[in-house]
């Protein structure tokens, strides 16, 4: 029997795709395996051990940096999601109005500029303010993270809103719901998956940031990624593998959640 002609087949594409997926995961898998290495060098395998996780757990610098990362990440994620939700409501499902294009450009601006440039800019700006006010807390990091998280939080919220039929709110208004009630009862519950997705995205983005944090942070304000960067530059111990593995696990958990939340359609 002759094989059916497959219209979707392209020679070699499947092989390249397979290679891509293997190449994407292989280094990560190796990294995770070596986190459980008993040897103190990453070039030999000395048997299975959890000692590097233990040593990371007892390293106060690591714990401090982790807590700081979570602190900054959660505040920045919540703030940026609230602001992004409001901005998304203001910029979707409307006829063009004066300033709409400006808003799109402004909200997406942090995505358009290489991080290094934003980092330098914030370094200059915040160092001035630090001299001026004397304040040198993590407020600067929170502000910077909130700013660059807004466009990321904005993405899924806006996408969700644009797919939401304005007729539903019209129907609510037709059924005597005031604009506020229509928002509470119709818009918000339907938008909720988008908002959650935005929140998780913002949190992951904040947690991952190296460059801007590296430039903005004052002494003793390392986040987990900037701490790791410092360690990697100094030389590698399997402890970094252990930290990376824990970090990875967290990211995967959040992404998994994000994936299901943002894919949910009703």
């Amino acid at each position: 029997m002759a094989k059916n002609f497959s219209i979707k087949h392209q020679p070699g594409f499947t092989a390249i795709a397979a290679t891509c997926f293997i190449v994407l995961y292989l280094p990560i898998i190796v990294l995770v395996i070596y986190a459980f290495n008993a040897a103190s060098s990453t070039s030999e395998w000395g048997g299975f051990s959890l000692k590097w996780f233990q040593s990371a757990w007892q390293n106060t610098q690591v714990v401090d940096a982790t807590l700081r990362s979570f602190q900054i990440g959660s505040i920045a994620a919540v703030l940026s999601t609230i602001f992004a939700t409001m901005a998304a409501l203001a910029t979707t499902r409307t006829a063009p109005y004066p300033g709409l294009t400006f808003k799109y450009a402004a909200i997406n601006q942090p995505l358009m500029v290489p991080e290094i440039v934003t980092g330098v800019a914030l370094l200059i700006f915040f160092s001035r303010i630090k001299i001026f006010t004397g304040y040198s807390g993590i407020g600067y990091l929170v502000a910077a993270h909130t700013a660059f998280c807004i466009p990321f939080a904005y993405l899924p919220i806006r996408a969700r809103l644009e797919n939401m039929d304005l007729t539903l709110e019209r129907a609510a208004a037709d059924l005597y719901a005031t604009p506020w009630k229509a928002f509470r009862r119709i818009t918000l519950p339907l938008l909720w998956p988008g908002i959650l997705a935005g929140l998780m995205l913002a949190f992951v983005i904040s947690l991952d940031d190296v460059v801007i944090t590296e430039f903005v942070k004052s002494g003793g304000q390392d986040t987990l990624p900037t701490y790791m960067l410092g360690q990697i530059r100094r030389g590698i111990t399997p402890e970094i593998n252990a930290i990376s593995t824990a970090f990875l696990l967290l990211s995967v958990a959040i992404v998994t959640l994000f994936f299901f939340v943002s894919r949910k359609r009703d």
Partner: protein, 306 residues
């Protein structure tokens, strides 16, 4: 009582006002902690460096001159700053090659994903999304462990007797290239996949029906239709690659600088904030040119998805 027309106008005015109020917090935060400071960078690039970092409030074009030129300490003559030019060219070259490499790998991958059944498609998307949201530093670190002299590539090659001494990949341009292609690959795949997913495969059928070969279908039908995704992916890879900081820092080992390392240097040991500012603006100008080319191209291509 107001007439319907007056009410309509009032409603519209209130709507626009509310929309400004709603977007105000986001705009304000972005202005204060992203856009505004960029303007200060521009100002700083025209000032004189301070002795211990920062600046003196004195106008000077020196920083801009120093972007590409060197002033001789003894006779004040200007010559091309070979070091800077090299770094600019290396950054642009590495970014372009990274973009091409990710496109060559990413296009078939996106195609493969888009041609799976509806259900498995989500799984593949999930698999490409995980590295995308995994910390870039961790992924770079993972690459470092693979390619270093004691890494598994060299170890396996040595064990198999193919090589007698480890190949030095780490701390070379190749390392930076491998690292950037690795970390930015999902950025290329995702937008192409987004375009590809919406591709109507009946058009492909029509192409075959009209005697096109597989390659002709790919070139004349599929590629033009997903071009917006390809352009978006290229931009998404090119911009961060040009400003890449982590990957060259970790894999280039500080010897093979890229633009970001050069800029960082001016704010650290270099103590030349105006030059760092001018270099930053220069990077932004390159990015803007790339973006403009994208916008013009996207406008011309005519095919729109969603």
């Amino acid at each position: 009582m107001a007439t319907a027309e007056e009410v309509a106008k009032a409603v519209e005015r209130r709507d626009v006002r509310d929309r400004w109020l709603l977007s105000a917090p986001a705009l304000l935060v972005i202005f204060l902690a992203a856009t505004g400071p960029l303007l200060i960078v521009l100002v700083y690039s025209f000032l004189t460096p301070g002795s211990y970092g920062d600046v003196k409030w004195q106008f000077s074009p020196e920083a801009w001159i120093a972007v590409f030129l060197e002033r001789d300490i003894f006779d004040d003559t200007l010559s091309i700053a070979a070091a800077h030019v090299t770094i600019f060219l290396r950054s642009i070259k590495l970014s372009v090659v990274t973009t091409i490499a990710t496109l060559v790998l990413g296009f078939p991958t996106a195609y493969f994903m888009a041609t799976r059944s509806e259900k498995t498609r989500d799984l593949w998307l999930f698999l490409i999304t995980i590295p995308f949201w995994t910390n870039l530093l961790i992924r770079t670190f993972a690459v470092l462990q693979i390619i270093r002299n004691e890494g598994i590539i060299n170890t396996i090659l040595l064990k198999l007797g193919i090589i007698s001494a480890p190949i030095q990949i780490l701390y070379t341009d190749t390392a930076i290239l491998i690292g950037m292609a690795y970390v930015y690959l999902p950025l290329m795949v995702l937008p192409i996949y987004a375009s590809m997913e919406k591709l109507d495969f009946r058009l492909v059928e029509a192409g075959y029906d009209l005697y096109a070969s597989r390659f002709q279908v790919l070139r004349r039908i599929i590629f033009p239709l997903v071009k917006p995704g390809v352009i978006a992916g290229s931009i998404l890879v090119f911009i961060p690659a040009l400003g890449a900081y982590v990957t060259p820092s970790v894999l280039g080992g500080g010897k093979n600088m890229m633009l970001s390392n050069l800029i960082e240097l001016q704010f650290g040991q270099g103590r030349n904030w105006p030059l760092g500012s001018a270099l930053s603006i220069a990077v932004m100008i390159i990015v803007m040119v790339a973006l403009l080319a994208y916008v013009r191209n996207a406008g011309k291509s005519g095919v729109r998805h969603g």
